[in-house]
Symmetry: D2
Subunit: 168 residues, 4 copies
């Protein structure tokens, strides 16, 4: 917010491939509790980082369509309306978790995202998150350009999954 985004932050922000956003998160002391594992609420922090970077990268890829909202402080953001979470396995200190964010349903005023925290091939946590789109501090209809960007992502996810299925 305080200055233009640095040029090379892909190592921090993750990437969108086949319509899915993935990024890696290291588990530090701050993320664990005395029972020895990651404190459950901290997965929501990891998933919010994923959503923030997903929106950041969508905005970078489709700069023209985000231009009208860019002037308004504090910019645009997702706001969580509801979520369903399952905790399958414990995460541990020093784990590198992959946070995968996939758009599931894009409506006029809300978006449902599937978010997973994975460790290698293990699914650690999975959530379905319904978010509203906020710009200039207010919930708004999702801009058509953003909706198209996310929907084109969804069709790529479908195609990639189908291709993956054929390969097996």
């Amino acid at each position: 917010m305080s200055e233009p985004a640095p040029l090379l932050t892909g190592h921090l922000d993750g990437a969108i491939r086949d319509g899915r956003h993935t990024m890696e998160v290291r588990v530090y002391y701050e993320d664990t509790d005395f029972s020895g594992i990651v404190y459950h609420a901290n997965y929501l922090r990891f998933m919010e980082r994923g959503r923030t970077n997903y929106l950041r990268l969508l905005g970078a890829d489709h700069r023209s369509l985000f231009e009208e909202t860019q002037d308004e402080a504090p910019g645009f953001a997702f706001v969580v309306r509801s979520m369903t979470i399952e905790f399958f396995r414990p995460g541990h200190m020093n784990d590198v978790l992959e946070i995968v964010t996939t758009p599931q349903e894009v409506r006029g005023a809300s978006i449902t995202l599937l978010q997973q925290c994975r460790r290698g091939s293990d699914l650690v946590v999975e959530a379905r998150v319904r978010v509203a789109f906020v710009s200039g501090g207010k919930a708004q209809r999702i801009p058509k350009s953003l909706r198209l960007a996310m929907e084109s992502g969804r069709s790529k996810v479908g195609a990639a999954d189908a291709a993956g299925a054929r390969r097996q």
Copy 2:
């Protein structure tokens, strides 16, 4: 953990009445984010405090039935398996939120709790939380005494709600 529970901590731990646990939580800087409201993941911290104190008070009220588990470090605890959360209204700096925890379904190996974060008569956040019971570091069948304590709570909730309905 490090020493016996202090004698007078009711002002911190809340109370169980009519089968429901309630406690108050003040919103501090640490709980908010730059959008001006409580950061969504922090309601999970508030609700975990509610569950911890609910179990603490159940244990204090039914000391004899918790005695067998008390020797095992690090004691017994609820571990969250899944939850569904709705965010209805924003919480703000300095708010005093009431965290209300009500047992909904008590099974052999898991318990479903309804948890609400209220501000006066406003419902801010509501969650259904399925927890397993862990003692000595392992998930276990819920001790019969704890199950009875929670179920007697549930019937009181039902009776209190019915009485409330009659009064209206």
Copy 3:
């Protein structure tokens, strides 16, 4: 911020006695890390709660002198400029810590506070915290009324300590 402070929150906010503010804080899961003890940064959260409540109670006790600033959002606050912290003993899950805040030096534009986290007679963490006074979003000279309120506190601390010393 969103509504008038509830009437009876002394059990949450602690109290000012002999110029010192004290409040109790329960250690929850969220405060610990996998090494089994309180994560070091979380003592700063506890001490910030102490400062916030100290200022809240000073404001309540001296309402007339805070009236001019009360209209300005987001109100007045302490902002930390520097601090020195010593970690003497580990804090543990379920501990009840007493957070003690004592004004040490009150200058025109900054205040130095001594803050301690105590468990019974044990000193767990001690910090010297230099804060600026912010109102309406900007650092300001400390209002004379606030300075007098804190200085009268300091003289009481001195008197109480001297009385305590005489008693021994």
Copy 4:
């Protein structure tokens, strides 16, 4: 802890160059508070990530000398004994901060680190952190190999600074 460190995590862990460890940290919602800036205690989380990764990379570079301690759970770690922090400038949402960790004094039982949080050429936060070395859950004399690794780092820092000074 739960599995061998993944092979390629340099983008997460930062790097040691000229005896200094540097890594980048993105500021997310979770790191800010309603005053609009980074919550002060969260810089301690950033600096702890820096220390953890500094020790991780020292261990990877000097694997033979860490071998004896590697078997002991939960491994070796720095534990903070005291710190002095100055907050020079506010950090903001979306900032990319560089966390720079430099060994300053390496003694038998404790190490003093200089840690900076930088944004471009601006110094945001600076701390001097005295840590003890813990292995197998207990404070210990710092292994000679670790001490040599850090001291060789210190001499490189000195040489690099002198070279930098000559260039100006």
